[in-house]
């Protein structure tokens, strides 16, 4: 097992390096460098950038040096100082901006993960065991629907319904009256009342995908000879199903760890924006629109790194769960 983990970690290093390069390329993509963007922006506001500031930034990002050096200065600052650069849009360090928003983002992601698992597991198992039943068809249809409706559209519709029929402002994570209030039970209740909406919205697509995969896998497993063999030795059907085929079919569940977390950090920026959530997604969106590339790059980098780490976690979980994976490495 240790060897298996060790090898997985080793493979990570080149992957992470490649990802950082891709991110850096993305940062460099918009025409002009950081300074020209900054100067242009300040100029449009009517004030220039002091010469001392220009010199400081040139030095800081190595703007007068070859691209490779620029890359190195960028990545080494991140690696050794946790310094992701500065956002000119907000005129604050990127790391400070992230620190504000990451906790909520991660909390939301984890709750969503739990939601996806809790909903898709029983439904997936049910759909496979009762293949072609009314319930199976119903869930399958809703699964397709979940995959077909863009999340932001669900968000819009939910908000509209809330506003129209319940006079409820579903946006944000707190009602205005609690925004600055100290923590209390009522505030917590208000938080919960708001939070379920993004969780359900994010959960739909993931749940639908998970149900489909689990159902297909389980159907495959149920046809394997070991199922008949277990039945032939008198195992009760329910216990047999859970112990043998379900356990094998569960593998894809662990791969969801890999993408749920990072997905929400950046991927669902659009939904977050619609719902007016203070997560990293809208931050990235605004940064991209304003070509505030160090901020956007930082979020992109973090989410990619999280994918890689998430994949590592799910690989390890898989190794722990599945002896075939564990013992073959």
């Amino acid at each position: 097992m240790l060897r298996y983990i060790g090898r997985r970690v080793l493979i990570l290093i080149p992957t992470l390096a490649a990802i950082s390069i891709v991110t850096f390329v993305v940062i460099q993509l918009p025409p002009g460098d950081y300074l020209t963007t900054l100067t242009a922006q300040r100029a449009s506001q009517g004030d220039g950038v002091p010469t001392g500031e220009i010199a400081r930034l040139t030095e800081r990002y190595g703007l007068d040096k070859p691209v490779i050096v620029q890359y190195w200065q960028w990545i080494s600052a991140i690696l050794f100082h946790g310094d992701f650069g500065e956002s000119f849009d907000y005129a604050r360090p990127v790391s400070a901006l992230l620190a504000e928003r990451l906790p909520l983002t991660i909390a939301l992601s984890l709750v969503t993960l739990v939601f996806i698992w809790a909903v898709s597991f029983p439904i997936g198992v049910y759909s496979a065991i009762r293949q072609y039943s009314v319930g199976d068809y119903t869930f399958t249809f809703f699964g397709y629907l979940g995959l077909a409706v863009p999340n932001f559209l669900i968000a819009l519709v939910l908000m509209w319904v809330g506003l129209q029929f319940f006079d409820l402002n579903a946006g944000g994570i707190l009602s205005p009256e609690y925004r600055d209030a100290p923590w209390s039970l009522a505030k917590l209740g208000d938080l919960a009342a708001h939070l379920w909406i993004p969780i359900v919205i994010w959960g739909t697509a993931g749940t639908a995908g998970n149900i489909r995969v689990l159902r297909a896998n389980l159907l495959d497993e149920l046809r394997k000879p070991y199922v008949v063999a277990a039945r032939a030795r008198g195992m009760p059907e329910r216990k047999m199903t859970i112990m043998y085929p379900v356990r094998v079919a569960m593998n894809p569940f662990f791969s969801t760890i890999g993408w749920v977390l990072p997905g929400l950090i950046a991927a669902d920026a659009i939904t977050s924006k619609v719902l007016n959530l203070q997560t990293t997604g809208p931050l990235m969106l605004r940064a991209l629109l304003a070509q505030d590339m160090y901020l956007a790059g930082a979020i992109l980098l973090i989410s990619a790194v999280l994918v890689v780490l998430g994949t590592l976690v799910s690989d390890i979980a898989l190794g722990w769960l599945d002896p075939r994976v564990r013992l073959r490495y």
């Binding site: 046809r223 394997k224 000879p225 070991y226 008949v228 063999a229 277990a230 039945r231 032939a232 030795r233 008198g234 195992m235 009760p236 059907e237 112990m243 043998y244 356990r247 094998v248 769960l321 599945d322 002896p323 075939r324 013992l327």
Partner: protein, 705 residues
Amino acid sequence: MEEPLLRIEGLRTHFFTSEGVLKAVDGVDLSVPAGKTVCLVGESGCGKSVTARSILQLVDKPGRIVGGSIRWNGATELATLDPAGEELRRVRGGEIGMIFQEPMASLSPMYTVGAQLSQALRLHRDLTKQEAREEGVALLRKVGIPNAEQRYDTYPFQLSGGMCQRVMIAIALCCDPALLIADEPTTALDVTTQARILDLMMDLRAQNDMAILFITHDLGVVAEVADEVAVMYLGRIVEHGTVEQIFSDPRHPYTRALLRSIPELRGSGARRRLTAIRGMVPSLRQVPAGCSFHTRCDHAVEGLCEVTPPPLRKYGEAHVASCHLDEVPAAPAAPAAPVLQVTERVAAETAAEPLLRVEGLAKHYPIGGGLFRKPSGVVRAVDGVDLTILPGQTVGLVGESGCGKTTLGRCVARLADPTAGRILYRTEQGDEVDLATVTGARLKDFRRQIRVIFQDPFSSLNPRMTLQQIVGEPLRTHGIASGGELRDRVADMLTRVGLRPEYMQRYPHAFSGGQRQRVNIARALITGPRLVVADEPVSALDVSVRAQILNLLTDLQEELGLTYLFISHDLSVVEHISDRVTVMYLGKVVEDADTADLYRQPRHPYTEALMHAVPVPDPARRRERHAFEIADDLPDPAAPPPGCRFHTRCAHVRAELCRTDVPELREYGERRSAACHHAAGLTLAGVGSVAREPQVDGRMAGRDA
């Protein structure tokens, strides 16, 4: 007669598919007396497995038991029990144990064998975890698993197929069942492993006083284990009797035909034609009316057999068969079937120059490795092999799976690139060319002369091409023919292999396994090759079809003057078709001799073990081979044992020599060699030359020579 342990009456299990109802089991009567072994035999698709599964209600959807009764122990009616109910669960595993064809797949890969074993124990017996473990280890020991204590904690995929089957047996035995249902338990195993598993089952049966319902297609195995035999054809039992009755006095034409079509180890060395059953098992969608066998029966009586289903007729105590023949007053004159000649082949002219000489051939495969990683080892699939093939001869290449015989065949056909060694092929002009170094256009030219018949009749034909495209492909690639000429040639070739030329526009999915193998042969022969590498060409086929294909191969050899390299794991098939036999073990040749010499008296202990592991289809000669058993675990080919590679399993291993020194392949007598340190000193047992010719009673005489 007292009530048998299990009595099945009028069992009907049907499959309700979108293409209609398939009557897989359609009125089966069968009983298993306590303590007896009953064998259920028949070709694939005749409903044996479905019958076995119906007993414990294990038939998968869309199959369903639609009628009949299954009485267990004279009291319980199994057919109508609730499939999920407590009562049936108690019988499953508690009173009736079951083992399956694919032992590895029948165990869950997610749990250790011990976990699955102890779980089965605790399902039916009130044991603590610790007790279950002790009991489990004891059971593993009982089924002959060495180091049971450690093996208890291994996963199924870490064990060999034979070991997994032992575990399955242990699980089936955990509650001392009164009946063990064994569904083709040895079909997926090597012949040596099969022998050991059969012995184990027979020993356990005696110890536990247990009855066995043994499902198999192999009549050799039947002769080996059965007390009673039931022969199944298209969902019905056509004959039932004691093993002696079935083998010495078969009454149903199907039984007789089956018995005659098995190639048998004879030790005579002479090549002999097999008697095949014509046609193939019809699809369940079109079960013939009347006697379902009449379409393939040589004795079918017109106006009777295709109209009226035959009644069961008694031929003595416990011997019944359902055939009309005895109702017809006068026995018909000897049927039109031709008297077949025994083709005793004169051994090919020894003086002739060899067509192919393989020298020191090796093929190594790296294992592991990636972009930045070195391979972690190497499998020496073929490791220094010498082989000579004379023109017009058939050389048989035998060995267990994993011995490198297929790889060797592929190297000869240059479908794999050898790592080392020479493949000297004599061209028609008489000069020798080293095929191992030929490339490009010249290699392509040799691909016309050396052709391959593949093993898997399903995977070897591209399902998206018509027969004309498949068989005509070599003509096209070599620019031999196209258009109308290609069509004519393909039509001619199809006729030669016994297929109708009108089938040319059909796709492979329209054909059965045997027919597909004929297509395979047609494709190989259409370029007019000189050497044909036949890689297990009949191992995926049913007994009756196998005989047809073997005969076809023999006929074509005569007709076209072909030379065969015939690769097979089946020693009896090899004996029937080969002039010379080469035995391989873990990438090396261990023995090489003329067929008759080899079978009469092997020189290598491995050959002897292999030969005696083959079950003989003669109940009178059962259990002879107990003495020649070898351990059933083939060593890891990536790390073969030092010294003689066979020493870990050899019964004749002596002194240190075997463990340290690699034995050379040495000449022993004329035209034979063996790689054993003690070959000269050992007297090994061949197959008795008392070979029994199948007994044929009066009416059917003339069918056999």
